[in-house]
């Protein structure tokens, strides 16, 4: 069969490399795309910096004076909870972004390219991880300004931040699955957030679970966000309970094992509108 080619000053030949190498290279191209975009979206800047700062200030000064946790400064108790809540909420952007790409037809284009199928999702979730790392950094800085003092050693501090990022990454994949499942950006937004409210607020993020009514306490004690918050908080306060930390890690790994294959499978089937 004769294959006509359109003239180019030089011919451009695709490079030949192993599949895994392409999966990583393509993911990097997509991640870079997202990282270039982010500073160009005014909403994103507000969502990624101003909102977390507001949360820190609000809880520190408004609730901070009326909530007392025995044996610890409330601000030191509170901030790890806010960190977890913020990275979880931040992960919703993964799903919203994918829903936007679907709606605009970009996913159709990506799927018509000879790129790795997983790359649109891995690239996106990795970029959102970088974004969340930035958010954590901002909150840490603001926290330090308003009196937050992590009373821990360097090893636990690194462990705490690593756990935060793992939580962020795990929730990004849940969010990706939601973004691919729903039929509009608005739906991705509401479906992405709505279930996070009970999970984050009915947890140990802001209050002592012991103060909750019985029925709520039964839920709050067992649900993953409490385990994650307790894990991060233990590490940042310098007295981690290894049971909490490993349950949090196990939850994250479990979420990733379910939602990575699920969302990649959905991506392969999904056609934009």
């Amino acid at each position: 069969m004769t294959t006509a080619t359109l003239p180019a000053k030089t011919t451009f030949q695709p490079q030949q490399r192993a599949r895994l190498v392409w999966a990583l290279t393509d993911a990097w191209v997509i991640a870079k795309r997202r990282l270039i975009q982010t500073p160009r979206i005014p909403d994103e800047i507000v969502f990624a910096t101003i909102q977390p700062i507001m949360f820190v200030l609000l809880f520190r000064f408004v609730f901070g004076s009326s909530i007392h946790i025995p044996g610890v400064n409330y601000v030191d108790y509170l901030l790890p909870g806010i960190f977890v809540q913020t990275v979880i909420f931040g992960s919703v952007t993964t799903g919203i972004g994918l829903a936007q790409d679907l709606e605009k037809g970009l996913i159709d284009r990506f799927r018509s390219l000879p790129m790795a199928k997983s790359a649109v999702l891995t690239g996106r979730t990795i970029a959102d991880l970088v974004r969340n790392a930035f958010v954590v950094f901002v909150m840490f800085a603001v926290g330090l300004l308003v009196g937050y003092r992590p009373t821990t050693n360097v090893l636990y501090l690194i462990g705490g931040i690593a756990l935060l990022l793992l939580i962020s990454f795990a929730f990004s994949w849940v969010s990706a699955t939601i973004g691919l499942a729903v039929h509009s950006v608005e739906a991705a937004q509401s479906a992405g957030f709505i279930w996070l409210f009970p999970l984050t607020f009915a947890s140990s993020a802001f209050v002592l679970i012991a103060t909750l009514p019985d029925w709520l306490r039964a839920f709050a004690q067992r649900q993953p966000v409490t385990l994650m918050v307790d894990g991060v908080r233990g590490l940042l306060l310098g007295h981690p309970n290894s049971g909490d930390v490993w349950s949090a890690v196990a939850w994250c790994v479990g979420i990733l094992l379910v939602f990575i294959p699920l969302s990649v499978w959905m991506y392969g089937r999904r056609v934009g509108r």
Binding site: M1, T5, A8, Q13, R17, D26, K32, K104, S112, M115
Partner: protein, 338 residues
Amino acid sequence: MSREYAILAEGLQKSYGQTHALRGVDLAAETGTVLGVLGPNGAGKTTAVRILTTLLKPDAGHATVAGLDVVRQADELRARIGLAGQYAAVDELLTGRENLEMFGRLYHLSTRDARTRANELLERFELADAANRIAKTYSGGMRRRLDLAGSLIVSPPVLFLDEPTTGLDPRGRTGMWEIISGLVADGATVLLTTQYLEEADLLANQIAVVDHGQIIARGTSDELKAQVGGERLEVTIARGGDFDAAVRTLSAHASGDLHVDAGQRRIVVPVTNGARLLPDVVREMDAAGLTLDDLALRRPTLDDVFLTLTGHEAEEKPDDAAAPADRRGARATERASA
């Protein structure tokens, strides 16, 4: 094989629940030609393009593009096709250059080649001046050109253009037609879907008319027009001239019954080989001392073809499978006006 088909589809079927988007569609495009797929919204055009570009798997039937099976050899095929049009999009938050470099990298060009190719395409599609502006600020026509450029990164032998001019203003549309003609002149095989009869007439070698998921007619533009009837000469005689003499003179050339409207002083004459007749007619009218207000040789338009074939005009049918397509159409319009 005397003919080489860059696109060959047989018996394609696709249903979404109760909705039959395609009910057994055959398509063929010889290498280096343009196949126009013409039909209203919801006729199944986009579904066919999605199957041929590996985005959807057909429920039944099979297809090869550039000699590769669209289902079994989908991965290989993606490196040899380009998809552009109303839905295949660009990233609005990236600049024109960033978009093309990204697509180049995803076609697995080296960073350097991707940059060189992006610059070439920006130049070629007259986007060089806007290369460093984000695509959100582009006009509808510029965005479509960028979109098309994105599908030409590796000079694919087969191009799918899904309603490439929907939502564009007349100038943007003419510009896009010139670009598409250029691509074909360079040897690409193009499958073009359109709702614009004029567009298929102008660009396509072969046209397949789709309605309700089926091909209802196919052939060249001329062949389709022939199904509706031949040419006709439309003559308007100036006041004061001998109208009856004009009718007598013209009936000598008619290939069928004349349609005479004495009030409007208008005569419609079915003819064959009208272009050759025209000088004779003018000379005879002149000799008879008749002044003509208007003289036109008309051939049936593809609108006439559609009406004859389907009994309805090529319009949107909101109750059809087209609900998502309608939304896309609306979005394309927004983009164009943005």
